[in-house]
Symmetry: C2
Subunit: 242 residues, 2 copies
């Protein structure tokens, strides 16, 4: 079968020149979220090179020619954050023309949800676990109350991640990716509250989650520093997607 230039598909592919036009570079950046003691955190690192040296950036890097976007994200998460086998989902692409002064770089943003024990166990050079606060249409990244300057549009990426996670929290049961295998109902509610940025009614939260049949009692109770110990539950990964 020949095309309008009289070429077969094989001939067409042989003469195709991918370098005929100037192309943007393609990167992946990852917004790593965790909830520690009811506080929402993001993993960033202090840049030690130009451009925007000393600002704080999300971990990321360029997409190799022979790896999928998902593979690139998993590789960078492993290499730059030291974390694997966690929840990892693509957010979207960010492609403002002037978002990077080096050259035209389009980035595919991902977000990862990491349980606190896993996050606290990783120690990578220059990495910082910073606080995140969403207020209005912006996000504030800080450590010990001290605001951090964020690299290029990375604050936008964090904000968009928060919006996405809030929307998918229920449908995809994302909260369980931020908890250890066994957890109390209070801890589950803490995660929901940290992500949604608001307090929830304890009674109806308990009822809803218990009635949803997504939890299984472990029979054990919290080894607690608190007062009355709470029952520990596990997540039953049922739930169907749309």
């Amino acid at each position: 079968m020949l095309d309008k230039d009289g070429l077969s598909e094989k001939e067409f592919l042989a003469q195709y020149d991918a370098n005929a036009f100037e192309r943007p570079s393609l990167a992946v950046d990852i917004c790593v979220l965790t909830v520690i003691a009811g506080q929402l955190k993001v993993g960033v690192y202090k840049r030690d090179a130009h451009p925007q040296m000393h600002s704080f950036a999300l971990p990321g890097g360029f997409v190799h020619i022979d790896e999928s976007l998902d593979d690139a994200a998993a590789r960078l998460l492993r290499d730059k954050v030291g974390v694997q086998n966690v929840y990892l989902e693509q957010l979207r692409a960010f492609g403002r023309v002037d978002r990077d002064p080096r050259t035209r770089i389009v980035t595919i943003a991902y977000f990862a949800l990491v349980p606190p024990e896993v996050m606290l166990r990783t120690q990578v050079q220059g990495s910082v676990i910073a606080d995140v606060m969403a207020h209005k249409q912006k996000v504030k990244v800080s450590v010990a109350g001290e605001g951090l300057e964020t690299f290029t549009d990375h604050a936008d990426i964090i904000f968009a991640t928060l919006q996405r996670v809030r929307g998918e929290l229920e449908q995809k049961s994302l909260a369980y990716s931020l908890l250890p295998k066994a957890f109390t109902l209070r801890a589950l509610q803490d995660v929901h509250e940290a992500l949604r940025g608001e307090n929830l009614n304890k009674d109806s939260f308990r009822r809803k989650v218990l009635k949803s049949q997504t939890l299984k009692e472990t029979g054990k109770v919290e080894r607690a520093s608190s007062k009355r110990p709470a029952a520990l539950y596990r997540f039953k990964k049922t739930k169907v997607s749309l």
Copy 2:
């Protein structure tokens, strides 16, 4: 301020070589949706060139080096579909390594929501307004009951668009982008039903939408071929996002 190689930011940028590594090509593809007579439709065109000649593809093209992703999507929508000033939102990137036989092409998928009058007015060479049916985790694209072969992963893009639109239908009031300025409550419900792929309770749908304060009566009624004419409403663009 000098980096670890002793370069200033200006010197660093001058010596930066974007071509040091082989990079994927970057494209944009657009899933154009409309609802005609209660039926969900997608705009595709029959490929007249390799690869996968004669399959049906979403309109798209390459991202220019000096335009943002959003600008590229708007340009391609205008040039390839003949439509502008419609709802246009980025879905996400699709980057399977083997998704295009020409070379490594990562595509940023967008979706557009177009009112039926606007869609029917456009006449672009080779374009087809096809039916869409979602069943299970796949999508079926057809014309007059005849299934169409879709180009590379474009069926996945359409499916993902449907999922996204269903999720954002309420929050972002997307249905109004698929309707003329004045519309009946029945037409609004038809759009919701077409997008969600299920029938809704008429009574509670009316009550919910009327109570939501997002509609304004025009005072006019439908010039109808139906029985009793229905009141026409307009969309009051209030509603705050998250």
